[in-house]
């Protein structure tokens, strides 16, 4: 029992994923199946299609992962499944699967908060990362600054009052006709552009700690509409302008948060948007300016995956924090229940 093995299941958005992870950070096997082709023609994730794909793919994927690792359920110490927040149809498929495995194999169930998976995943990649650290969690559904004080102890310092930053990337990409998934497509386009458009940086310099991206997205829409026949150059420049503005917002807000938590040992970024190289670069510079190490998990660990859920399961299992088989599937589930609701949205977490 000194090196526990946990099975992790993720199905809260459009990735079906399974992984087997040990407490010594060994990943025995993992699979991640994205559903991009199913959602591409709609330009966004369709919840019913996502739930169907999870239901079709999860069981065969589990069998493959166990087979590849050469382990049986009897060898596993706990079953971890995402219980929210996310698209509830998919969450239910994954959580019921985790519960059934746990019950049938007589193993503990760990109902993992998807955001906790992201929050702890940097510790899977980096054994030297200790609590407390400042986490910028940026994805299609979330944009938060959290002081990660320990397993199960997350203090929210800031969240978005409207769109998540990844949502702004995806929607701007759609406005610019750059394809789906939008975030990576916009980043590719921006590489060829120069940020010559003057776009707003909502809340930058504000005393309010939070993020806002709706106005930036609308500014992209207006700038695009002002051009009758934009060239590929124009689109690339507008993409670069958006990315620079979004990056400036993230850096400004993160700098403000750093001033509030002098006790942190590192600046950490996680979530799908953490795959963006410009944002990584800007955050690395910010950390260096504060004399802090900058930790960004490898790209595959930033987007949704099963290993981060298994790892959160490992950390919770070692802390003795397990759930019973009645654990609810939760479309909304804030990591910091004590955090005040913010104006606008802030609804996602």
């Amino acid at each position: 029992m000194h090196n526990p093995l946990v099975l992790g299941i993720e199905s809260s958005c459009d990735e079906t994923a399974v992984a087997l992870v040990r407490a010594d950070r060994t990943i025995l096997a993992q699979r991640i199946a994205s559903q991009n082709e199913a959602h591409e023609r709609f330009g966004g994730v369709v919840p019913e299609l996502a739930a169907r794909a999870h239901a079709d793919r999860l069981a065969p994927m589990l069998a493959e992962v166990l087979d590849e690792a050469g382990v049986s359920l009897a060898d596993i110490d706990a079953i971890a499944g995402t219980a929210g927040p996310g698209l509830i149809g998919g969450v239910m498929v994954g959580l019921v699967t985790a519960k059934a495995l746990a019950m049938a194999a007589a193993k503990p169930l760990i109902a993992v908060n998807h955001l906790e998976g992201h929050a702890l995943s940097p510790r899977l990649a980096n054994a030297a990362l200790h609590f407390p650290y400042l986490l910028l969690l940026v994805s299609g559904g979330h944009c938060q600054l959290l002081c990660v004080e320990g397993v199960g102890r997350y203090r929210r310092l800031a969240t978005t009052i409207d769109d998540a930053v990844g949502e702004a990337f995806d929607k701007s990409a759609k406005l610019l006709g750059l394809g789906f998934p939008g975030g990576p497509a916009l980043e590719r386009a921006a590489r060829a552009g120069t940020p010559r458009f003057a776009l707003p940086r909502p809340l930058v310099g504000s005393d309010e700690p939070h993020f806002s991206f709706a106005g930036l997205k609308s500014a992209v829409l207006r700038a695009r509409a002002a051009m009758a026949a934009p060239t590929a150059h124009d689109i690339a420049d507008l993409a670069a302008s958006f990315q620079q503005a979004a990056c400036d917002c993230l850096v400004d807000r993160t700098a403000r948060a750093l001033a509030q938590v002098p006790e942190v040992t590192a600046l950490v970024v996680a979530g799908g948007v953490a795959a963006n190289q410009s944002i990584r670069g800007a955050l690395a510079d910010l950390a260096a300016a504060h004399g802090l190490p900058f930790v960004a998990p490898p790209m595959w660990l930033c987007t949704d995956n099963g290993a981060m859920i298994a790892w959160a399961g490992v950390e919770r299992f070692l802390a003795g924090d397990i759930d019973d088989l009645n654990a609810p599937a939760r479309p909304r589930w804030p990591l910091d229940p004590a955090a005040e609701a913010v104006r606008g949205a802030g609804v996602k977490a």
Binding site: E48, D56, A59, L62, A63, G89, L95, L101, L325
Partner: protein, 187 residues
């Protein structure tokens, strides 16, 4: 063979341990929502440590969310125990309940509440094989008896007006078994 049957395609959470027509244990409760929370603890309590030789799961038609919960649970249990998992049509269950209620029938319309006031169903014979499934505009008025909760939505008399009952899964012949894939009535 001892069979675990699971039906979560309707507002009922219906599970049973059966051996042929014999019902060894059954739990059937109208819960409305909350199948994702209730299913696994209910199966654990029902089995009380027994492990079935196979699993039959209601694959619809019915609530899309409910169907997926049943299938996800059944497939995971099958994987954990190393036992086969087969799908069964909700209509086969409803028909079996109908023929049990009126032994004189040779055919009936098995009808389920497909949500949003819609009825899905098919005409089944005593072989309990549901050939097709689809949303129905209204009663066929072909003189064949109606069975299931869908009949009540039409306000018609029915052999029974119940949701699918897992306790009847044991009487389904092998010819009525399906793959454990969801049947989406609206598609």
């Amino acid at each position: 063979m001892r069979t675990l049957a699971i039906s979560t395609s309707s507002p009922a959470l219906s599970i049973a341990l059966v051996d042929g027509a014999a019902v060894l244990a059954r739990h059937h409760a109208l819960i409305g929502r909350g199948h994702a929370e209730a299913l696994v603890p209910a199966v654990q309590a029902l089995l009380a440590g027994r492990v079935p030789g196979r699993i039959l799961v209601d694959v619809g038609p019915g609530s899309y969310t409910g169907i997926r919960i049943g299938i996800a649970g059944a497939r995971a249990l099958g994987l954990a125990w190393g036992v086969p998992v087969h799908g069964i049509s909700a209509l086969s269950l409803v028909a079996a309940q109908g023929f049990a209620a009126d032994a004189g029938l040779s055919q009936l319309w098995a009808l389920i509440d497909a949500g949003r006031g819609q009825v899905a169903g098919a005409r089944l014979g005593r072989d309990l094989v549901a050939g097709g499934h689809g949303l129905l505009a209204g009663p066929a008025d072909d003189g064949v008896a109606l069975a299931g909760a869908g009949a009540l939505l039409w306000g018609r008399p029915a052999v029974h007006g119940d949701h699918p009952d897992a306790g009847f899964a044991g009487v389904l012949p092998d010819a009525a078994l399906l793959s454990p894939q969801a049947l989406y009535a609206g598609d």
